[in-house]
């Protein structure tokens, strides 16, 4: 089952919020994560696919089947809500079997499938428990089992881990991913947590102000962001404006920089991107792009120290990470410098 969003636009009446011209194609069994700041339209996108919002232009196709005229209950798309939305008057097993009951699946088959799914999410012994007796993580797993029970044509995950403690989140991420692969579910995950998106997704879509900025693999999104907005939103970075002064030569305003300028011409305005882990502390003599300055705030993270490094002439400090903070100088190795067109 492939899920294709083709030039989808949507506007909330009386506001500028919504989506404009968003196109995303999700292949069978693929997990695409949509990330973006709040108000970027990512939840709207999910609601449109689920059918909880309607009135968009463009088309949403599930295996070639146009969904736009289908009401929610006919779409056969499983959804896990941020707050889980479990039914408080039903117990765990009844929640999981709710969709099957609506499909008039015989009771014996319902209970067999229900227990199978509860076993899969590790809650086999909880079948008869009331929902109120479950922890947040357990509720989340019941919600996932309930969505998968109907053998959905696609799976939508709306910030599924946002309400959970950091400790349990990592484990559940892996569990969701394993189940998603096992069911070969075509999945759209909406999250504001970039780590969640990068670790779980086959591809990541970055949304801002209702527009799709980039759709690429997690590695490409991080290492080759298409714009400053993507670079700023995904991972930490130092961004500096610069002018191309020649082949492999840039002017930062306070210093010269060597980097691969590609096909850019002299005089082109670009933004220089350097990830903190690529900043070299205390570089050896003769290394390219060495700058002297002073260390600012240092944050000890265990495996590395993340620190600010102030360069004379640069307003905002450079963000760097290494085993030890630099004392006097840092370097930007040319192979790790990305140039973003403005």
């Amino acid at each position: 089952m492939s899920l294709v969003l083709d030039k989808v636009s949507y506007h909330y009446a009386g506001t500028t919020h919504g989506l404009s011209d968003v196109s995303i194609d999700i292949r069978t069994g693929e997990l695409v994560a949509v990330i973006g700041p709040s108000g970027s339209g990512k939840s709207t996108l999910l609601k449109l696919v689920a059918g909880l919002e309607s009135g968009n232009t463009g088309s949403i196709l599930l295996d070639g089947d146009d969904l736009s005229r289908k009401p929610v209950h006919q779409r056969h798309i499983g959804m896990v809500f941020q707050s889980y939305a479990l039914f408080p008057h039903l117990n765990v097993a009844e929640n999981v079997a709710y969709g099957l009951k609506l499909r008039k699946v015989p009771a014996a088959e319902r209970s067999r499938k229900g227990s199978e799914l509860l076993e899969l999410v590790g809650l086999g012994e909880f079948a008869a428990r009331p929902i109120s007796k479950l922890s947040g993580g357990q509720q989340q797993r019941v919600a996932l089992a309930r969505a998968l029970a109907i053998d959905p044509r696609a799976l939508l995950l709306d910030e599924p881990l946002a309400a959970l403690d950091a400790g349990i989140r990592g484990h559940l991420r892996d569990q969701i991913r394993t189940l998603q692969k096992r069911f070969n579910a075509t999945t759209l995950l909406v999250t504001h947590d970039q780590e969640e998106a990068l670790t779980m997704a086959d591809r990541v879509a970055v949304l801002k102000d209702g527009r799709l900025l980039q759709l690429a693999t997690p590695r490409d999104i991080y290492e080759r962001p298409a714009s400053c907005a993507v670079a700023e939103f995904v991972g930490l970075s130092t961004l500096m404006p610069a002018i191309v002064t020649g082949d492999g030569q840039l002017d930062l305003g306070f210093a010269q920089l060597r980097a691969d300028t590609g096909a850019r011409k002299r005089g082109d305005a670009v933004t220089v991107l350097v990830r903190p882990e690529h900043v070299q502390a205390n570089p050896p003599a003769g290394a390219p792009n060495v700058f002297t300055g002073r260390v600012g705030t240092q944050r000890y993270l265990g495996s590395v120290v993340r620190y600010d490094f102030h360069l004379p002439g640069l307003q905002r400090p450079v963000l760097a990470e290494s085993r030890e903070a630099a004392t006097q100088s840092i370097a930007f190795p040319p192979e790790h410098i990305r140039l973003l067109d403005q």
Binding site: V72, H73, H76, M79, H89, L102
Partner: protein, 254 residues
């Protein structure tokens, strides 16, 4: 301090009821703090009085009928107000919540007298009209209770979940919304029954001689012996609490 206030309030609340109970079994009570003598004759007299017996039944019928009508009306009403308010501001919801406070029963009663005393609709004094009036008067109380619960439970979220699992709107209303409103329906109906049984102004204006409700007949008791009036009032208290209990247990079973 807080405890003291609570105890004082409790006394203030319970003392009249205690005095009523004492008065209803006292043989004589004139110009004294407490009645003298012990008797059961007031209750016997009450039992022998056909107008009180009849009023007792009428009140019970009116209260239970109001509960049934309110259940059928208030659940869909509160539900559509909840969804309407989310879409188009909460003006309608505000009107419903303000209605019982803003419209005194006497206003409602006069309205009924004008409308239903015509050749076209000569229903003034009939039992169905009395029931209808009680249902209208108590409807906002139940609707408000349900509306508060709908908001508190954030039922729209559960309905969305049910819809993604394949539930048609009616299926999710009956299978998800109604079961989750059970608690507030029970507490709302207890209130409806108690208000209906104790209601005087509306009933006094709308009843015929045969269909008088208990409070209307009770008024007459005050012109007679104190003990008789006390006993009749104690019965009203019992009636109100019984109908509240009955209405809630009927709902619990279903």
């Amino acid at each position: 301090m807080v405890r003291g206030v609570a105890v004082a309030y409790g006394i203030y609340l319970l003392l009249p009821i205690a005095l009523l109970l004492i008065g209803s079994v006292g043989s004589s009570w004139t110009n004294s703090l407490l009645p003298t003598g012990l008797t059961g004759r007031w209750y016997l007299e009450l039992w022998d009085d056909p107008s009180f017996r009849r009023a007792f039944t009428t009140s019970l019928v009116v209260a239970l009928a109001s509960c049934v009508i309110n259940t059928l009306l208030a659940v869909p009403l509160a539900y559509s107000l909840y969804h309407g308010a989310r879409r188009r501001g909460s003006f309608a919801a505000k009107i419903v919540s303000a209605m019982p406070v803003a419209v005194p029963t006497i206003t409602l009663g006069f309205g009924y007298m004008i409308v239903f005393n015509t050749d076209l609709m000569p229903w003034l004094g009939s039992l169905p009209l009395l029931i209808a009036a009680h249902a209208v008067h108590t409807l906002p109380y139940l609707t408000n209770t349900l509306l508060a619960d709908l908001r508190h439970l954030n039922l729209a979220r559960l309905e969305s979940a049910a819809a993604t699992l394949g539930a048609r709107p009616l299926q999710s209303f009956l299978g998800i919304v109604v079961p989750n409103l059970r608690q507030s329906l029970i507490s709302g109906l207890v209130m409806v029954a108690a208000i209906s049984v104790g209601e005087f102004g509306l009933s006094n204006l709308l009843t015929s001689f045969q269909n008088r409700t208990y409070p209307v007949v009770l008024l007459q008791a005050f012109y007679g012996a104190t003990g008789f009036a006390c006993a009749a009032t104690v019965i009203l208290l019992l009636l109100a609490s019984t109908s509240a209990l009955v209405s809630s247990s009927v709902i619990k079973k279903s």
